[in-house]
Symmetry: D2
């Protein structure tokens, strides 16, 4: 299992007139945790992209439990439970003041330099596999 | 059943470095169709808010079938299949050049002026009910 | 002189907790008017990009006179007073209910396929020059 | 003089199809430095808002010197050269790998709980004045 967490502070720009963080901005927060996860295994997303690979989102799901607002300090945790194949599935939780305020997941496909769904680069599978020993 | 569609053109600001519309921006497009739906039944969202009600998103789901990019003309369709109660469930499809490029749904709760989940205002139920005759 | 106007409706996603449209979102509105301007002269921005050119923003200025909020109908006018050279200067006004609510300008450079500041494609100069007859 | 700096990492969500950070997102970065500045003097923006005050942007100016892109580490410096009165003027520089990549300023007005331009709360002036000793 692969598990990463990042901390962030809700930006004023991220709020809406309801007085809370706009629900669409959670997508960028999930992404930041996802990017950190690739950093942590030593295969940063910018390296993957430099090699011509892409990881577009195929599906997004978010359950909003409690609103968060400007200046709130959040922890975004990303969890990959199964080793990556052609597809990638990542779960997320957002925590504020010790409470889970949102949960969700994203599903991704690896797209190779030719623009087609493909297995990730071999080195990526190698570095990732270390976290999924049986 | 309630059904509304809006047309929009993907903004340059909505793209990301993958060269497509950023997946997080679909949330605003769904919302625009939702807002139009309330306009169409004659109970605009700004009226609902002026009366102290809110319709926060409780859950969001998006399945991305094909990417869209800058300047693409999209049709966002919003469909409410069941009359609103305390909760609201809306489905969406995004169409570009005759093809469905994404689908999704949002679930909402009505929040009353006291900040609690509540039934929508009676007049809202009345105007909405016309679309769900049996 | 080249002059274009577009109409738009402020999105809920574009508001912030102050209850108004977030000041940073005006950049995307200016851009939409700019894109329409290139459409109007028959040299769409997507064509310019397809030919390998870019028009990055070198300077941005916005003066906010009155706030606008969710659902407000705005007119964004873009004005190019001088024919484009290596640089481009565009002025903007935002009008809501007959009142100017914001003004600004952007300065741009043409970047050629080699990634360097350059004169725009000849055909671009030709189509634009028609609007700057002396 | 008041001077604050924050560090941030460009989000993927903040890029556009030109391959760089979208120029409109700099507004949120300036704001983050501004928010930190108020934290540093011990009068956080959320406290100011809780007291009914607002600090809307009256003017924004940004000069873009070099593009920055996904994953770049930026330092955003905010500088207030004169003590706040009814108005506030803040200058910013963005630095990446030791080079200034952008500069700008924002002008603000204090808006009191009655919605009118006003002097900031007395305690705000007191805490700020310490940084502008002659």
């Amino acid at each position: 299992m692969l598990k990463t967490a990042i901390d962030l502070r809700v930006r004023y720009a991220e709020t809406d007139m309801m007085g809370f963080a706009y629900h669409g901005n959670y997508t960028a927060w999930f992404e930041m945790a996802r990017v950190q996860m690739l950093d942590d295994i030593g295969y940063p997303y910018r390296v993957l992209e430099a090699e011509g690979f892409r990881l577009p989102v195929l599906e997004l799901n978010i359950v909003y439990r409690k609103p968060v607002t400007f200046d709130d300090r959040l922890t975004i945790e990303a969890i990959m439970e199964n080793p990556p194949t052609i597809k990638l599935h990542i779960r997320y939780t957002i925590t504020c003041r010790g409470e889970i305020t949102a949960e969700g997941f994203t599903r991704h496909a690896f797209i190779n330099p030719a623009g087609r769904p493909a297995r990730p680069p071999k080195r990526f599978l190698d570095v990732a596999s270390r976290y999924f020993s049986d």
